[in-house]
């Protein structure tokens, strides 16, 4: 098992009481792996303790990205939520802590490949 952050990078933000987390493959191979394994159901189960609703995944292959929309995850969001993170700032980092059964080295850029 390796942490998701070894093969992916991410960014999260808020929209009312929902949030989105965009997840990007660190390599083309990593993105292919993510598309197969990081399903909406997997992400929904992971964030269930925060009360998330039905997660929707949008595939953005031209950016080697998956965009997850997490409805209702911010317990009111904005000025309303009492949580330390009312705006979903930590959700990207939290998702990257997920343990995944991906091949070791999947996120490593080979020397010939430009960083991207």
């Amino acid at each position: 098992m390796i942490p998701l952050r070894d093969i992916a990078y991410a960014r999260s933000g808020d929209k009312g009481s929902s949030a989105n987390v965009a997840v990007f493959g660190r390599t083309a191979e990593a993105y292919t792996w993510l598309r197969t394994h990081l399903t909406a159901a997997v992400v929904e189960a992971y964030f269930k303790p925060l009360g998330v609703g039905e997660v929707v995944r949008y595939d953005v292959p031209n950016l080697e990205a998956l965009n997850f929309v997490l409805p209702g995850i911010l317990a009111g969001g904005g000025s309303r939520s009492l949580r330390i993170d009312a705006q979903g700032k930590t959700l990207g980092m939290a998702l990257l802590e997920m343990s995944v059964e991906a091949p070791v080295g999947l996120g490593t850029i080979r020397p010939t490949e430009s960083k991207g």
């Binding site: 952050r5 990078y9 009312g16 965009a22 000025s79």
Partner: protein
């Protein structure tokens, strides 16, 4: 082909780093425009509270300081123009304050335009109006009498009209964030309002810079590896006549503009990437191309657009009670257990004294509390220290007020090892509910006016 239009951003939110605009024009004097985005979802409700105490406080006064900081640059022939939603609830008063400031500095030849008409509070609160909540589907009836603000997101066409009239400084109320960038492009390139692919490209450019340093490495996953992260540059886009752009930052600034920082920011706060809505155009990101063309220069092209919706989005806020958060540090063995026990005891004591809270929350920071129950690999029992954070919310102010006076006493009645109480009592804060809804465009009358 006309030269690309250089548009920077010097504020990603109300309260962003001061002094940025003056630094930007020193680093990059050939900027055509600087944009400033001051308005997050609930910023206008904060202005409403400030304005209740001081009628002149309905806009972002920081912007007057920005204008002052650029006076020397303009006197020496600098031509950079400004577009900002600093007007907040009261764009006319903001424009008047800028006029007075420029007159004082003998810069009265700079033309100021104000865009108003976004305030639809009267319409939204009138009897019989629908205005369903876009998130919950609920009817407005339940909050109508508590509505504080209701503002439509106006678009680029009105900003472009102000610029065509010769404005050097455009001050708006609520507009869609990317429209601050799209407006100058529309006016400069003479695009038609139906040039949807070009508008889509400019909207993407505006979206990329609207959060200040974020596209230059701020909050990026690999932030720790950034060069000179203490001085990350603010971004600029060089928008071409076809709507594509190059994202970059002034030479000599910290941070980085890479494929990764740009891709992260492209999907920041995005729902369906195939249907990003603005009042100017509905944008698809699904054919976007990002290319690193040189160090700290990333070209973004391939945006496609369709006609925008026939409605404006409205961001409304309503009063929804009060809240407060109190924090104390707890050190020692069983720190988390003690912190939690102290927090629960505090709530119980208040309850026994008759305080009614509709909600409370006890968090022990350091245990993964930001995402409680998710990714918690920290064993609470091994922590030698935690920050206890207790929060309450109530319909009325009194119980919350009382709560704020009960935090410090934990220093004497709580566990041994409580510290960090020196910052004083927490503040009682009003809670604003967020009410996104739609309004027919025909009901909204944007007004563009030159002030001087």
């Amino acid at each position: 082909m006309p030269a690309p239009l250089k548009i920077a951003n010097a504020a990603g939110f109300w309260g962003d780093q001061p002094g940025v605009a003056a630094k930007l024009v020193a680093q990059q004097p050939d900027l055509d425009f600087i944009t400033f985005d001051y308005l997050a979802e609930v910023s206008l409700s904060i202005m409403a509270i400030l304005r209740a105490k001081d009628p002149a406080a309905g806009y972002a006064r920081d912007f007057i300081e920005v204008v002052r900081s650029l006076e020397e640059f303009w006197k020496q022939g600098g031509r950079t123009r400004l577009v900002s939603n600093a007007g907040g609830l009261d764009p006319v008063a903001c424009a008047e304050a800028v006029r007075v400031e420029l007159a004082r500095a003998n810069l009265a030849h700079l033309k100021i335009a104000v865009l108003s008409g976004d305030d639809v509070h009267a319409m939204v609160t009138s009897d019989g109006a629908e205005f369903q909540n876009l998130e919950t589907g609920a009817g407005l009836e339940e909050v109508r009498d508590r509505l504080v603000t209701a503002n439509a997101y106006l678009g680029a066409e009105d900003i472009a009209a102000a610029l065509r009239a010769g404005a050097d400084i455009v001050i708006t109320g609520r507009v869609a964030d990317p429209s601050l960038t799209v407006g100058p492009c529309l006016a400069h390139f003479g695009w038609a309002a139906t040039d949807y692919d070009r508008l889509a490209g400019a909207t993407v450019a505006g979206h990329l810079i609207e959060c200040g340093t974020q596209v230059c490495g701020g909050i990026s996953t690999d932030w720790l590896e950034l060069p000179d992260s203490h001085a990350i540059g603010f971004p600029l886009v060089e928008v071409s006549a076809d709507g594509s752009c190059v994202v970059t930052k002034p030479a000599g600034t910290g941070g980085a503009v890479t494929l990764r920082t740009v891709k992260e920011q492209l999907l920041y706060e995005i729902g369906d990437p195939g249907d990003y809505l603005s009042p100017d155009v509905s944008v698809s990101f699904l054919a976007l191309k990002v290319d690193a063309i040189a160090e700290n220069r990333v070209r973004v092209s391939g945006a496609t657009g369709r006609a925008p919706p026939p409605t404006y989005k409205v961001s409304a806020t309503y009063r929804d009670g009060y809240k407060a958060h109190g924090m104390l540090t707890v050190f020692g063995h069983d720190a988390v257990k003690k912190a939690r026990h102290a927090g629960e005891g505090l709530i119980r004591r208040l309850h026994d004294d008759g305080c009614v809270f509709r909600e409370h929350l006890i968090e022990c920071l350091g245990t993964g509390a930001s995402v409680r129950g998710v990714a918690s690999r920290v064993s609470d029992t091994h922590l030698i220290e935690t920050v206890l954070r207790v929060s309450v919310a109530a319909d009325t102010k009194e119980p919350v007020e009382r709560f704020t006076r009960e935090i410090a006493p934990l220093v004497t009645c709580g566990p041994q090892g409580v510290t960090g109480y020196a910052s004083g009592r927490p503040k009682v804060m009003p809670i604003f509910g967020y009410w996104p809804c739609l309004i027919d465009r025909s009901l909204v009358q944007p007004i563009v006016r030159l002030v001087n």
